[in-house]
């Protein structure tokens, strides 16, 4: 048997090898760029209403994930997820998750089937790595006003109706991706009305901590969303980020912060916030 050894060396002009930490830093920044570009994908083009997303990693790169996949007839498939762990290992699995979603979204009819296909694709790898991913996936049909969703271990979005009251989505639980093989993910369906707000999020928001170690908490988030629900998606996003910043006094956080905001519009709604950057440094 013959073994082939391949060694890669990087040299500067003087011929010396850069220090290990310099190389590592450079590679982490390159990885961050890749992640930002992949997260900052094509902006969805909704006929009515608006949707936007933002992910702020706690470290240079993160394990949170969100994505949009345009479907036929103006519908859109939305996903938000959180990979177990932090930093580079979580980011690597986030890329794996993204690939599984893109492939599954293409080939499946609804969010439940998408999660089932994703779990089938990811289970063996995640189990081997002793990791998992929680994701929430939904199909939004702006024309019919239907919101169909499936859940693999993630928290349900917060829904604020146009009358500024919170609407609890019907409970729907499913095992995280990578938890058990051959899972069938059920779907639920609700009808959304004009000016309703759907706020998808990862736990980094409600678990953001202030200097006393107290968490931001879901109740505070819901109250905040009620106060800003009549604003545009971009304004709501800014309000949430601002409120977390005020609460934490800019303290570095342990977990990534990710949100997707869906505002239900009418035919007259201007899609004005589509130029909002999808990922912040």
């Amino acid at each position: 048997m013959m073994f082939r050894k391949i060694m890669y060396h990087s040299h500067d002009e003087s011929g010396s090898t850069p220090p290990f930490h310099t190389t590592l830093q450079r590679e982490i920044h390159l990885a961050r760029n890749i992640q930002m570009h992949l997260l900052n994908g094509e902006e969805p083009d909704l006929p009515y209403g608006e949707v936007t997303g933002v992910s702020i990693p706690a470290r240079l790169i993160g394990g949170d994930y969100y994505d949009f996949y345009p479907l036929s007839n103006g519908k859109i498939r939305i996903i938000i997820g959180d990979v177990m762990g932090k930093g580079i290992p979580a980011a690597m699995l986030m890329i794996l998750t993204r690939g599984a979603f893109r492939s599954a979204a293409e080939a499946t009819k609804g969010p439940g089937e998408t999660l089932t296909a994703m779990n089938n694709a990811l289970y063996k790898d995640l189990r081997k790595l002793r990791s998992f991913v929680t994701v929430f996936c939904a199909d939004w049909d702006p024309g019919a006003g239907t919101f169909i969703y499936a859940n693999a271990g993630h928290n349900l979005p917060v829904v604020i109706r146009s009358n500024l009251r919170e609407f609890k989505l019907p409970e729907l639980k499913g095992v995280m991706l990578g938890g058990l093989p051959e899972q069938v993910y059920k779907e639920q369906q609700v009808r959304l009305e004009e000016d309703d707000l759907v706020f998808f999020y990862t736990d980094g928001i409600v678990e953001a901590q202030n200097q006393e170690g107290d968490m931001f908490r879901l109740e505070r988030l819901v109250q905040l969303l009620m106060r800003h629900a009549r604003e545009s998606a971009a304004e709501i996003e800014s309000a949430v980020i601002g409120a977390i910043h005020d609460y934490t006094k800019g303290l570095p956080q342990k977990d990534d912060i990710t949100m997707v905001i869906l505002k239900v519009g009418s035919e007259k709604t201007e899609i004005s916030s589509f130029n909002v950057p999808l990922m912040r440094p």
């Binding site: 959180d82 990979v83 177990m84 762990g85 932090k86 189990r127 002793r130 990791s131 998992f132 929680t134 693999a152 271990g153 993630h154 928290n155 639980k173 499913g174 095992v175 995280m176 938890g179 058990l180 093989p181 736990d203 678990e207 342990k254 977990d255």
Partner: protein, 103 residues
């Protein structure tokens, strides 16, 4: 904040007490050795302050190992928020599947 585990063997039962903050920064401290004669593991959460996804990952490792060795696993001392978290992500469903011998 720190994290530690206290273990005690009583007959064929391994009692594991989780103490403190079980998250990404501390979970490496969880090194659980399960003696050969153990038939059941009881995990006590009554002194655990917080658990994140990495902590859940460590618990799942224990559950998978227990499943492979046909051991029972029991949780006690769970507060409402941790119980709700485990319900949401599917920890109990995985336990049921393993204990029922589905996997």
């Amino acid at each position: 904040m720190s994290f530690e585990t206290q273990t005690e063997v009583r007959g064929a039962v391994l009692f594991v007490k989780l103490i403190g903050l079980m998250d990404y920064s501390t979970v490496d401290n969880m090194k659980l050795e399960i003696p050969e004669h153990i038939r059941k593991i009881v995990v006590d959460f009554s002194r655990m302050d917080f658990i994140d996804s990495t902590g859940i990952g460590s618990l799942l490792s224990v559950i998978y190992t227990a499943g492979e060795r046909n051991l029972d696993v029991e949780f006690e001392g769970l507060n409402d928020s941790t119980r709700e978290l485990f319900e949401t992500v599917g920890v109990f469903r995985i336990m049921e599947a393993l204990l029922n011998g589905e996997r």
